[in-house]
């Protein structure tokens, strides 16, 4: 029987899952993914992690526990960096140690250190070394790497066609060969949803923010829908080089959208206590405000209620609609703009 490798459906699942899945499966392991986040996973995570950890990390704990008894190996990598001279987040760097010192009764953990700070070669070396745990043939491991990179590229390409990571994963799984562009419905506004992918694409965590915006007639664009080269190029313009990979991409996307004028507003989704976001969200807000771009910041934690988020999103979309109608004019003496127009 093949080895069962457990991958939690949290954090970097939303960025690198196709790579890991292809890599492990090529080497003959079976990949087991935890179920989509639900109330139970959240509750367990909140109970087992420290209070101050951010929501995605708490949920990660829950996913690890839900996999605990179903797999032979847990894949909890230490993602220090996935590109040169940029980190992910301090919490990612301590994650396996955090898990190990709080949870007990876990199956063996694969905690390799992925560190590309000093270049991509070191990263590849780590992956190949990881493969040697599953298979002794170096050639096969090398081929697994090639296969994994191909899958990852396909996944990233699908996203630039307008698919979200979840949709892209589904397309990959169904093995649809023809890469159709995503069908686009009629929409009244195009809104950029910014934030860390593991927050905005986890429907349970983000309280269906994207779905609600779609229901309100908005088309969604995210940083993941833009090619990485473009994001890098825009982020280069920052006065100081951003040293968080995700932060760089979010800011790059924000700068691109501010220049391209295809976007009507920014919805920034963050979680309570996110370190990088406290800087990135504030910078994004400042840049947006200077250009007159509507901006809303939604901060989530385990106490957030969906109704509250819906109300705020509705107000935001209403505001966008009025803005379009009245060319950003609002009466300064409290009279409703609509009445002004109807009387004149």
């Amino acid at each position: 029987m093949s080895v069962k490798v457990g991958i939690p459906r949290a954090l970097f699942y939303y960025y690198l899952f196709p790579f890991w899945k292809a890599f492990f499966e090529y080497l003959g392991a079976e990949v087991v993914v935890s179920p989509p986040t639900n109330k139970q996973i959240l509750n367990i995570g909140v109970k087992t992690s420290v209070d101050e950890a951010c929501l995605p990390v708490k949920v990660y704990y829950g996913h690890v526990i839900s996999l605990r008894d179903r797999v032979d190996l847990l894949f909890l990598p230490r993602l220090v960096s996935i590109e040169k001279k940029a980190y992910i987040c301090p919490k990612f760097m301590g994650l396996p140690d955090m898990i190990r010192s709080t949870l007990s009764g876990l199956p063996p953990i694969i905690d390799v250190n992925f560190n590309a700070v000093k270049g991509h070669r070191a990263y590849k070396k780590t992956v190949l070394k990881l493969g040697s745990n599953f298979c002794s043939s170096l050639r096969k491991i090398n081929r697994a790497w090639v296969e994994a990179v191909r899958h990852q590229k396909e996944f990233e390409e699908l996203q630039t066609y307008g698919f979200s990571p979840i949709e892209a994963l589904r397309v990959l799984q169904e093995g649809r060969k023809e890469k159709k562009k995503k069908k686009i419905f009629d929409f009244s506004h195009e809104i950029a949803v910014l934030g860390h992918g593991y927050t905005i694409y986890d429907d349970f965590l983000s309280l269906n923010t994207i779905k609600h915006l779609n229901d309100l007639g908005a088309k969604i664009s995210t940083a993941e829908n833009l090619p990485i080269n473009l994001l890098e190029e825009k982020a280069e313009k920052l006065p100081k080089r951003m040293f968080w990979t995700m932060g760089k991409r979010i800011l790059g996307a924000a700068l691109h959208y501010l220049e391209s004028s295809q976007i009507d507003g920014f919805v920034y989704v963050t979680v309570f206590g996110c370190g990088p976001d406290s800087v990135i969200a504030d910078l994004t807000e400042r840049y947006a405000r200077r250009r007159g771009m509507p901006f809303i910041l939604i901060t989530l934690d385990e106490h957030s209620g969906e109704a509250g988020v819906i109300t705020r999103l509705e107000a935001f979309v209403d505001m966008l609609a009025r803005r379009g109608k009245h060319e950003n004019y609002f009466s300064s003496y409290g009279k409703s703009v609509d009445i002004c127009q109807s009387t004149s």
């Binding site: 992690s49 420290v50 101050e52 950890a53 230490r78 220090v80 001279k85 940029a86 980190y87 992910i88 987040c89 301090p90 919490k91 760097m93 301590g94 140690d97 955090m98 010192s101 709080t102 250190n113 920052l238 006065p239 100081k240 951003m242 040293f243 968080w244 963050t270 309570f272 206590g273 996110c274 370190g275 990088p276 976001d277 406290s278 800087v279 969200a281 504030d282 910078l283 400042r286 901060t299």
Partner: protein, 365 residues
Amino acid sequence: MKITFPHMGNLWISAKVLLEGLGLEVVVPPPCTKKTLSLGVLHAPEFICLPLKINLGNYMEAAEKGADTIIIAGGRGPCRFGYYCRLEKEILDDLGYEFRMIVLEPPENNFLEVIQNIRALSKCSMFQMINAVRTAWFKCCAVDEVEKKVQIVRAWESCPGLADKIYREALKNIDKAQTIKEIFFAKLNVLEAFNDVPVEPEREVIRLALVGEIYTILEPFANQNIERHLGKLGAEVKRSIYLSSWVNDHLLGSILPMESTKEACRMSSPYLNYFVGGHGKETVGSAVKFSREGFDGIIQIAPLTCGPEIVAESILSKVSFSEKIPVMTIYMDEQSGEAGLITRLEAFVDMIRRKKLSQKTATRK
């Protein structure tokens, strides 16, 4: 050009003499108060860590005194501090301040880069510069020596408050001293004065270690004077970070034989096996080190939402269990109150005293 810098504990004494020695005009921001913090909280992002909020207040108060240039350290991540310089500049720009920002990016383990950075600031001679660095360094060491002394004397003194009075006086004298000789004698006088403080030798004093994020453990305003409160409760205090050893470790490449956090970093394994930015690894390592040195308890202090310290906090529970030492974590932010802190400290100290007492009776039996 009137230059200013953010407060961090007694850093201002060394920073002032260094910059003045380079022939620059220095504006030391007024000491941190509630007003400083309120100014910062008003304009900083909601979830940014406490140091930025206080820094921002410092700049705004320094601007009232005429400062127009800020000097601050940079960073390459993954800790948020590395982006402070940029974020602060954007905030100050939006508020209409016209500050020039000089960012000292960290050298890659090369002391020459530090010298080049400093040289770029002013056109003073090499001799002048070396002199300024030397004086600043001696002041830094003198202040740390005095701090270490007061942290112990506070726990033993029979009339509380006397040690702090001497301490405040000492800082003033060290600040006033111009030459290395004067600094030396100022320090000597203080250490003698501390020896004359009346003490209660039969007091049951415990030893506590403070670990955590550098700003919150160095700046008394940010940690609600935790060292003084612990002293009053009869606890000797030692910190994991002192300014002089930090400078030696990070700017001088550990060339001087001093107490170093590098050793502590090594001791963080097997609990934490990787560097996590900020002072996360030092926190875990120091906790292990202090518990093996026979300290009675450890208090971790950090600003709320500090990533590296959250990692450390998760791991400290394991350290506490395996090394058999009580550990308490305290997060600081603008909502922290001094009375609440004192209650927690009292409970922690009481618990340690009881533990010691029960151990003593157990061994007697």
